[in-house]
Symmetry: D2
C-alpha cells in the first residue's frame, strides 16, 4: 500500500561450476541450476518481477555496487567455489542486505561466506549423499506464512541429499519448514531472519545431483520467499534506520510527515 508497486528486481546468483564440469549434473541442469530457479520465479510472480542472472565467473561475480543497487532480492546457490567468492563482494552484499535487500539462500549456500556472515555462526550440519538419494518430506509449521502459501502439506521430494541437525544457525526469527528424511534425520529446512532492514530466507532443497529445482512446489516456495522478502523492500522505513549522535530533543524539531 504504502510503497511503490514497480516490478521487483530479482538477481538469481549461481556459482555455475558443477553444471559445467560434471556430466551427472549437466544432465539434470543442462542450462544451469539458475535456469529452473529463474523459470519458477517468473511463472509464479510473472509481471511483478524482472529477473537477472549473475554467476561467479563474471567480473565481481556480477555483483557490482550498481548491480546490487538495482537488486531488491538476491537468490544464492553455491557449493564448490565458496572460497572463490571475493571478500569485498561479500561485504557489499552484506551491507546491501542490512540496507533492505532480501536474500534467499539455497541448499549448500548454508556454507557460503555471505550466509555465515549474516548468521554469525558456523552454519555446519550433518549430511549424507547416497547414490539415488533418499526421500525428503517437508512440513510447514506455520499455516499462514506467505512462504508456505499454495504448496501441499507436506511437500515430498522423492530423491534428495540428506541435511540433518544439529544445524548451527541462530534460532530462526520465524520457522516455516521442517524436513524429515528416510534415514530418520530432521532439519529446519525453511528459516526466516530479519537482519537490519533486510530479510533472509534459507531453504534446504536442492542439490546439484538431484532434480528438485525442476519440481513445481520447490519452485513455488522459492518464488514465495522472493515475494516475502519484497515485503521488507516495500516497507523499508529510512527514518527508523538513522543512527549516530542525536542532540537532546532532536525529534521534536524534526519534520514530521
Amino acid at each position: 500500500m504504502t510503497a511503490a508497486r514497480r516490478p521487483l528486481r530479482v538477481t538469481v546468483w549461481n556459482e555455475y561450476v558443477h553444471e559445467r564440469r560434471e556430466e551427472s549434473v549437466k544432465r539434470i541442469y543442462p542450462e544451469g541450476m539458475h535456469r529452473p530457479i529463474a523459470d519458477g520465479i517468473r511463472r509464479e510472480l510473472g509481471g511483478d518481477v524482472t529477473i537477472r542472472v549473475a554467476t561467479l565467473d563474471e567480473p565481481q561475480h556480477g555483483l557490482t555496487e550498481e548491480a546490487l543497487a538495482q537488486t531488491d532480492v538476491l537468490t544464492w546457490w553455491g557449493h564448490a567455489a565458496h572460497d572463490k567468492v571475493d571478500d569485498a563482494v561479500v561485504e557489499r552484499v552484506h551491507a546491501r542486505v542490512l540496507d533492505g535487500m532480501g536474500i534467499v539462500v539455497l541448499h549448500s549456500g548454508h556454507y557460503s561466506k555471505i550466509f555465515r556472515r549474516l548468521m554469525g555462526t558456523s552454519c555446519s550440519l550433518r549430511w549424507r549423499s547416497d547414490p539415488g538419494g533418499e526421500r525428503e518430506v517437508i512440513w510447514s509449521v506455520n499455516p499462514a506464512h506467505p512462504i508456505a502459501a499454495g504448496v501441499p502439506q507436506p511437500i515430498v521430494i522423492p530423491h534428495q541429499e540428506m541435511y540433518g541437525e544439529f544445524f548451527d544457525i541462530p534460532p530462526p526469527d520465524e520457522l516455516v519448514f521442517i524436513s524429515s528424511y528416510e534415514g530418520g534425520e530432521v532439519f529446519r529446512s525453511g528459516c526466516c531472519y530479519i537482519r537490519g532492514a533486510g530479510r533472509v530466507f534459507y531453504f534446504a532443497p536442492a542439490d546439484q545431483e538431484f532434480p528438485a529445482y525442476h519440481q513445481p512446489d520447490v519452485q513455488r516456495v522459492i518464488a514465495n520467499a522472493v515475494a516475502w522478502c519484497a515485503g521488507a523492500v516495500r516497507s523499508n522505513n529510512e527514518s527508523v534506520k538513522s543512527s549516530g549522535n542525536a542532540p537532546r530533543d532532536w525529534f521534536l524539531s524534526a519534520k514530521v510527515t
Copy 2:
C-alpha cells in the same frame, strides 16, 4: 501475488460506551472512536478494503457467525464493558482468529476477554492517567516491518495515558514498537503474534480521554496493521491446518498440486 485480490473485509468493533455517557469523551470523539479508526483505515487502504462498524449493543455485539465469516480483519476497542461481552461471542472470535482472521487490539483492549484468551496470560500492566496526560514517544525497533512503514521515527503523541511495564504478555513473536513516557516508564506498544492461521497485533495508543485516534500517524499504524494481518488471510494454507488421525503414508496418496 499468489492469492486472490478481492478487497479486504474489515470490521471495526467498538464497545461505544464512554463516548455516549461522558461529556469529556464525547467532545473528543463525537461520532465514537470507531469513526476516526475507520476513517484512517479507509484513507490509507482505500479501495483495498470494505469497512463495517459493529458495537456492543447490537445483537451478539454485531459479531454473529455470519458476520465473522465475512470478516478478514477485526479491530477491537473496549474498556468499560469488557465483562459485558458474551463468552460465546469471545469463543467464536477466538476460533475465527485461529482459522485465519486477523485481529488488531487497541489500547485498553489489553484487558478484553478475547485478548486474554489469545495470549493465555493476565495482560496486566501499570498505568497512570493524569489530567492532561503525558507525552508518549513511540519508537520502532524493526525498520522494515510493514506496520512501521511510512511513519516517522519516532511518533510523538503529545498527550496520552501512561501504560508501563511489566506488561504480562507472552514474549511477542515480533516486537515492532516500544514507547517511552514523560514519567520514565517504557512499554512494548506494538506487538505481533501468530496464533493458528491468524495474526494478532496489539497497539497501545490511544485512550478515550485523549485525541490520539485523530492523529494521522496513529491511524496509519492501525491501517498498516490491518494490511499486515491480510498477509495471513491471503496466504492461509488449509492443507497445513489439517489434524486428526492420519494413516501411515497418507500423504503419498494425497492429491498433490
Copy 3:
C-alpha cells in the same frame, strides 16, 4: 546464587484412568505412569527435590490452593478425562503458573484444559497409533539447552504413537527438540514457553500404550525440564510483576535494594 537453595517441590499429576481400567496399560504401568515419571525425577535430581503425586480422583484433583502454593513445578499427564478436570482448578493452576510455578506438560496433555489455557490456541495435531507403534527419533536443535543436557543425540524411542505437524501451538519461545517418525512425519516435541513469571515445557513422549516413560533418557529429559523450570522459581522477581495505578515518579521514592 541469588535465591534460596531449598529442595524443589515437585507435584507429579496423573489422571490415572487408563492404568486402572485397561489391561494393556496396566501391564506397562502397573503402578501408574506417575511412578516411572516420579522415579526418574528422583534418580536425576535426588536430594534437590521433594516429590508428591496427585491424581484426578482426589478432592480438587489434589490441587488445592494450599497444595499449589507448596508446588514449585507441576508435571501433567492426562488424556481420557480432560473434561473431568474442574474449571476452577484449571484457573487456579493457570494463575499459579503466571505467578511463577513451572509446568511440564506431557504427551496427550497437549489437549488438557490447562495447556490450551496457557497457549491460547487449539493445540490440535495429527496422530496415529498403529499396533506396535513406530520408531520416534528425537533430535535436539539447541546443544547447550539445559533440557537436552546429558541425553544422546538423537534419543531413539523404538515404539511410540505418532504425533505430527501441524501442531497448533504458538511459536515456541525456545525450541529444544524435533521428532521424526518412521512414517515420515515431524513434530516439535520439546517446546519452552515463558508465561508471566512461570515456565512451561511441553514434551511429546510418551503414550499409555508404550513403555517410553521407563526409558532412562526420556526420564532424564523430564527431570531436566523440572530443573529448568526451577530457574524461574529461583529468580522470580516480585518487584517486576507489580501492576496497577502508578503515580508519577513512584519509582524515585521507592526503597531501592
Copy 4:
C-alpha cells in the same frame, strides 16, 4: 545437576585505554573499569567463580588459545581501540563462543569486532553524551529471568550516556531489559542470544565518563549474566553438536548412554 560444579572461570576483558590517558575517566575508575566489574562478580558469585583480568596490551590481548580454553565466561569492555583488536583473536573468541563459552558484552562493546561478528549486523545505534549525562531507567520485561533476579524494578542510573533505537541487532532470542532516557529515547538494553553452544548477553550500561559500574544493581546484573551464561557451559551437550558426513542409520549403532 548433570554437570560438574567446579567454580566458573571468568575472564574480565578491558581494553583499558581511557582510564590511563584521560583524567576525567581516571578519577571515576582509578584502577580501571575492570576493577568494579570484577569486584561485583566476586561479591555476588563468591566461591562459585574464579576471576582473571585481561587487557588489550597483553600479548594476544591476554586471550591466547590456552587462556580461552580456561575461560567459561568472558566479559568485554572496549571503545577507543576496537580496531586494535587482532582479527585472529576475534576469530578465536568467536569459535570459543560457538563451542560453549559465554560472553557478556558491555556498553560501547556493541561496536567491538567480536560482537558484530556474532550478531552479523552493523550494531549501530543513536547516542548522546551531554556533560553530566542524563537519567537512564532500566525496566525488566521478564519477571523470572535469572538476569533480572534480585534487582529493583526499575534500576535508576542517575547519570549516563544515552543509547537509543534503532539498535541494529538481530531480534534478541530473549529480551530482558528496556531502558528509557530523560530525552525520551528507548533502548533494548539487556539482550540474550544463543549462538552455537554458547550464550551471549549484551548490557547497555555503563560508560567511561559515568560511574555506573560502581552501582551495586548494575554489578548484580553483570554477575547474574555471568551466571546465566554458565547454564550453557554446564549443559553443553557435545553429542548434539556433531556435524559432517553421517552414514545411514549411524545413530542406531551409536553407543547410547
